[in-house]
Symmetry: C2
Subunit: 161 residues, 2 copies
């Protein structure tokens, strides 16, 4: 099952939290990023569509930022879920994170038509605040590096639904 996430954390989000344009499995118009474990690291694969360009031939930086963002919050959720004793696919609802900060450094132009692979390393800053460093590859080429600080979704979100 190379280049494929079998058990993604987003598969286990409750339906009410599965509408994210980036990674909600129920948002049919969104990217539907899926994030899982790859050993001790996390991974999200994505192949941009032809419309997702900056200029012809190169992927739009906003898509890469979106990939880093959702890969980051998904990685935080994976890590806290594991800390709590669960893995995606276990049927247990995972924690849901929101992004406190997002940083992306674009190292080189990202060619269109390649499979993108975001790889993350997760670190606990505080039980409710985690940091993920992300590398984005197009095939084997490192094109961008990012960092996401995620926090456990505040209850104010649910109250406003």
């Amino acid at each position: 099952m190379k280049n494929e996430v079998v058990h993604a954390i987003q598969d286990d989000y409750p339906d009410d939290f599965a509408w994210c344009f980036g990674c909600g499995r129920l948002n049919e118009e969104g990217y539907r990023f899926r994030t899982g474990w790859l050993g001790e690291e996390t991974v999200t694969y994505y192949e941009p569509s032809p419309k997702h360009i900056a200029i012809p031939g190169f992927v739009y930086g906003g898509l890469i930022a979106s990939l880093v963002d959702c890969h980051g919050t998904g990685s935080c959720a994976l890590a806290l879920h594991r800390k709590n004793g669960f893995e995606p696919g276990s049927g247990e609802a995972p924690p849901r994170f929101v992004t406190a900060s997002l940083n992306v450094n674009y190292l080189k132009p990202t060619p269109q038509g390649k499979l993108l692979k975001a790889v993350g390393k997760v670190e606990e800053i505080h039980p409710k605040k985690w940091k993920v460093t992300v590398e984005v590859f197009a095939d084997e080429t490192l094109c961008a590096m990012g960092e996401v600080v995620g926090v456990v979704m505040p209850s104010t979100f649910a109250q406003n639904e």
Copy 2:
């Protein structure tokens, strides 16, 4: 003409550079952000569609990152164009920037259904490298702050078209 950009820098990009998913006027599936001057600051307005949510009721952070990104590169282009003696709408092709780095701090959840307004302050770091600090408001509420470092598009981009 409140809450509307009359002369956007993106209106003047050559057709070959007008396909960005974020701000390309020719990309019918994209966001089509439009960035112009508002006094000495720059502005982009955007109303997210219902699909652009993180969870129901709140705007997707990746869209805000995309808005900051394109508002940033557009602001760089506006500033260098003005330094070169031109304004959008003059008919002169503006310089085109790419993003070197993007940073977004999410201050509070961004409510769905409001007009977003990105406001930028542009600063020259080097003739080919500019920095833009960006504030994103939903109506009058400051929801996110960002920073974009843009560089004049390298010739390698055009060579790969």
